[in-house]
Symmetry: C2
Subunit: 249 residues, 2 copies
């Protein structure tokens, strides 16, 4: 068990990361299996008093998934008192996941800052468990095991936020190959939104956002008419990530 | 000076509210003038350990502006270390704004949860200062005095968030009269976005959101052709507040 010096930590503050993984039209999340407990948790951690909160979240993504410079968005501070009404700390001590002297630290009232990221999970070599956990795995969001505390709520809110933000900002960089077809982009949206979309409306909408550049290449090796390949206009893509789609005001 | 029992408060956690006021096509914010200091601050406060964070923010809005059941959105946790590198606590003690025994409390590292609200400020009877401040006033966002700490950054991020969210959710309830013209709605958008919009594009876009109901009434007493009055479809408006505009997927 790794010791940590609670004196160096911001009291009552934690972070939790919902790391969505997209691969072959499936959406998964990265979760940790806690040692000696038949329970799973979102990757997360605490905040050192001399570290920026957003930087600590980036550290979680780096330590658990080996990923750096990935889009990671803070989406909500979970601050309800009810999330602390649980016997999680007691169980962690009983099952020797944490040392008894840390029980007071774990039993204080915590608020937690939620972050989400979306990555191409085939690029993640080997997800790494932390000192409280025995494994770190990608699991389909439709078949999740039991999660500790309010982690299921945190996941649900992250997914709802991601769906909502699709109305206002692009998605796909780092998830699709550099050159992709409109059908491949649509499949990504359908996976995240969990619904089928109309092909013609989707195409019209995507083109109106003015973030796609048609290449003169076509996908070869497909049975019928070879579809056009697109790439993202990186400058306009990044602008839309900051300010939202503005083409229509 | 009001005493408060720091033992009852969540350590290192505060809230700050950016209360935007709209009236006659002007955007203002509510700020407090600190006692004995020629400095202004956003309304805010601390979080009692047995209270929900979002509920404490609603309390700030109620105590400072007398407003309840107003749309109030959490938008960001400001968690950089640099925001604490200041001599604000020392000045507060020196100027007898707070008692010397509270200095340790005020000098700990704080993270603050930012909220924003948008209200019709003619409905706010008398903004009420807190125990650290001598007045509470509406000030135009284009002519603000010097604000403490990172409150100017918090305001800027709140305004940027509000502008961005206009791409994805409605605005206007509680700000416009129950029946309003398309021009009045457009004027609200122009005030928040700080730019002029094309009349025809604006109208087309608003109608596509499917949240407006045309009434059979017209605004009378105007010089030329009497414009149509609209009202919000309250159910669809509330749905869009939660899930974003979905009309086009």
């Amino acid at each position: 068990m790794q010791n940590f010096d609670v004196e160096k930590l911001h009291p009552g503050l934690s972070i939790d990361c919902v790391i969505f993984g997209f691969h072959e039209n499936e959406l998964k999340i990265l979760i940790l299996k806690l040692k000696n407990l038949n329970k799973w948790a979102l990757p997360g951690g605490f905040v050192e008093v001399d570290k920026d909160v957003d930087a600590e979240a980036a550290e979680v993504l780096k330590r658990r998934a080996g990923l750096e410079n990935i889009f990671l968005r803070q989406f909500y501070l979970f601050g309800d008192v009810a999330r602390n009404e649980n016997d999680h700390a007691r169980k962690m001590v009983d099952q020797e996941v944490i040392a008894p002297e840390l029980r007071d630290w774990f039993e204080q009232r915590f608020v937690t800052v939620g972050y989400y990221a979306l990555v191409e999970y085939s690029k993640v070599k080997a997800p790494t468990p932390d000192y409280t956990s025995e494994s770190c795995e990608w699991r389909s969001i439709s078949e999740l095991p039991s999660l500790i505390l309010d982690h299921r709520d945190i996941l649900a809110r992250a997914h709802a936020t991601l769906k909502k933000e699709l109305n206002n900002q692009p998605i796909g960089m780092n998830l699709l190959p550099d050159h992709f077809t409109m059908s491949e982009l649509q499949a990504l949206y359908e996976t995240v939104l969990e619904k089928k979309l109309d092909r013609r409306n989707f195409r019209r909408r995507m083109l109106s956002y003015d973030i796609l550049i048609p290449t003169n290449k076509r996908r070869t090796g497909v049975a019928h008419k070879a579809p056009m390949l697109y790439e993202f206009d990186r400058k306009k893509y990044q602008e839309a990530m900051v300010s939202g789609f503005r083409s229509t005001w």
